[in-house]
C-alpha cells in the first residue's frame, strides 16, 4: 500500500499529465467512458506502485501504466465482443459532425478517421510520438518493445496514413 507522500506525488503527476493520459486512452479505447475508467484505474495502480518508481521520465512511467490499463480494458471488453469489432465501434462525437461543415475541418476529420482505422500497434506508436512528443527510447519503454520495432511501427503507420489520405474521399470510414 502506498504512503501518503507517495500518493500525493503520483496525484500531482497524474493531474499534470491527465490530458496526455486521457488522449492516449481515448484513442486506444475509442470512447469517453472506457478512457476515463482506464485512466482512473491507472491512477489507482500508479499510486499503489509509487514507491517502485525509481527515477527517469515520470510522464513515460505514467503513460506506460495508462496504456497497460487500456489493454486490460480492451481484453475485458473482448470477452463480450470480438476485439476487432470493439476497436472499430468508435462512436462519432458531436464535434465530428459540426466539423463536417468546413473544408479544413473536413480534412481533419479524415485524418482522425484514418487514424482510428489504423491497426492499434501503429496508432499507439504514432500517438505517443506525434501527440505526446516522446522520443523513440521513451516510446520503446512505454510499449515494452525494442527501439527498432518503434521505428518500423511509426514508419508503417505513417505510410498507411499517407496512402489512406491519398485515396479519393469516400463515405466516412467511421462507420466501419
Amino acid at each position: 500500500m502506498s504512503g501518503v507522500a507517495a500518493g500525493a506525488w503520483v496525484g500531482e503527476l497524474a493531474q499534470r499529465h491527465l490530458d496526455a493520459a486521457y488522449n492516449l486512452g481515448r484513442w486506444l479505447l475509442g470512447n469517453d467512458q472506457d478512457a476515463a475508467d482506464a485512466v482512473h484505474d491507472a491512477y489507482v495502480r500508479a499510486a499503489r506502485a509509487a514507491h517502485t518508481y525509481a527515477g527517469g521520465n515520470a510522464r513515460a512511467w505514467w503513460l506506460a501504466i495508462v496504456r497497460n490499463c487500456c489493454l486490460t480494458k480492451l481484453a475485458t471488453r473482448a470477452r463480450d465482443r470480438p476485439l476487432d469489432e470493439a476497436m472499430a465501434a468508435m462512436p462519432r462525437t458531436a464535434d465530428d459532425d459540426v466539423e463536417q461543415d468546413v473544408d479544413a475541418a473536413q480534412s481533419r476529420a479524415r485524418i482522425a478517421s484514418h487514424l482510428r482505422a489504423l491497426p492499434p500497434e501503429f496508432r499507439e506508436a504514432l500517438i505517443l510520438r506525434e501527440f505526446e512528443d516522446l522520443s523513440y527510447r521513451e516510446i520503446a519503454d512505454v510499449l515494452g518493445v525494442p527501439i527498432g520495432t518503434v521505428m518500423s511501427r511509426l514508419s508503417r503507420g505513417r505510410a498507411l496514413l499517407q496512402r489512406a489520405l491519398l485515396e479519393p474521399v469516400q463515405e466516412t470510414p467511421d462507420g466501419l
Binding site: L18, D32, R45, T52, A54, N57, D95, F131
Partner: protein, 260 residues
C-alpha cells in the same frame, strides 16, 4: 549519400533522432534532391496534420475531479504505514508492475530499459543546435526562403496557413535591415516560422519559437562565428541567428522588439 539511404533516414531526421553528423549529411542531400525534399515535405505535412489540436482529446473535468476525490480519500484513510522517504528499489520493478496487466492476458515478456534522463539543458542545447543547423542549411541552399517578399502583407498570410500562430512581420529596409521573405524550418520536432532579413552581406534568420522550446535557451549563444540571441517578437519568443557582430545584432534586436 544516395536517395535510398536518405529515404531511410528522413523519418528519424524529422523525429530528431539522428546524430548531428548524419543530420548534416542528410540535409545537404535534401538540399540538392527534389524528390527527397518532396518526401520530407510530405512527411512534414502529415506531422502537421496529426499535430492539429482538434485531434487531441482533453481530459473531462469529471475525470479530473474523480481522481482528486480518490486521492483525497487515500490521504484521509491511509492504509499501512507511510514511509518517511520514498525507498529506491531496483529500477525495473515499476516496469514489471506496469506490465502486470499485460502479462495477465498472456502478452508475454516485457523488455526492460533504463530511462533516458532528459534535462532542460540538453533540450535547450538541442534546440540551439537545430537553429544553427537550419541557418547554415539556409545559407547553403539555392534560396534561403520559401516565400520571397519584401512585403509583410505577403509574408504574414503565407505563414498563417502553415503554423499555429503567424509571427509579427515587419520590414526594416529603411533602417538597413530589409525583409527578404520567410520559410518554415524545424526546431526539435516542431515546425517554426522563420523571418529572413538581409543586412549588407549578412543574411539574418529570425526563428519564432513555441514558448516551451524557447524556455531554457540562454540569452545568447556563439557557435563557429555565428551568434544566436533570444528576444521577444510581439508576444512570442524568437531567436536571431546570423554572423553579424554584436553591435549590429543589438541594433536589429532593438528594432524587432520596439513596438510599432
Amino acid at each position: 549519400m544516395d536517395c535510398k539511404r536518405a529515404a531511410s533516414l528522413l523519418e528519424a531526421y524529422l523525429d530528431n533522432e539522428l546524430d548531428r553528423a548524419d543530420a548534416r549529411e542528410l540535409e545537404s542531400h535534401v538540399d540538392g534532391c527534389t524528390e527527397c525534399r518532396a518526401e520530407l515535405t510530405r512527411l512534414g505535412e502529415l506531422r502537421a496534420a496529426l499535430r492539429d489540436r482538434s485531434l487531441h482529446y482533453g481530459a473531462p473535468s469529471a475525470l479530473r475531479e474523480r481522481i482528486a476525490a480518490t486521492a483525497a480519500a487515500a490521504i484521509d484513510a491511509p492504509a499501512g504505514v507511510a514511509p518517511a522517504r520514498r525507498p529506491r528499489p531496483p529500477a525495473s520493478s515499476w516496469l514489471r508492475l506496469a506490465a502486470a496487466c499485460v502479462l495477465a492476458f498472456g502478452a508475454g515478456g516485457v523488455s526492460v530499459y533504463l530511462w533516458n534522463r532528459g534535462t532542460d539543458d540538453a533540450a535547450a542545447s538541442r534546440v540551439a543546435s537545430d537553429l544553427f543547423a537550419a541557418h547554415w542549411r539556409a545559407l547553403a541552399a539555392a534560396s534561403p526562403v520559401d516565400v520571397v517578399s519584401s512585403d509583410r502583407h505577403t509574408v504574414k498570410p503565407w505563414f498563417a496557413g502553415k503554423v499555429a500562430q503567424a509571427p509579427l512581420v515587419r520590414d526594416f529596409a529603411e533602417q538597413g535591415f530589409a525583409l527578404v521573405g520567410g520559410r518554415i524550418d524545424y526546431a526539435g520536432a516542431q515546425r517554426v516560422p522563420v523571418l529572413v532579413y538581409r543586412h549588407g552581406r549578412h543574411l539574418i534568420d529570425v526563428f519564432v519559437l513555441p514558448a516551451p522550446a524557447a524556455a531554457a535557451l540562454p540569452a545568447s549563444i556563439d557557435r563557429e562565428g555565428y551568434a544566436a540571441s533570444t528576444l521577444r517578437l510581439g508576444d512570442q519568443p524568437a531567436v536571431i541567428v546570423s554572423d553579424m557582430d554584436a553591435h549590429e545584432s543589438a541594433a536589429f534586436a532593438k528594432l524587432l522588439t520596439e513596438t510599432p
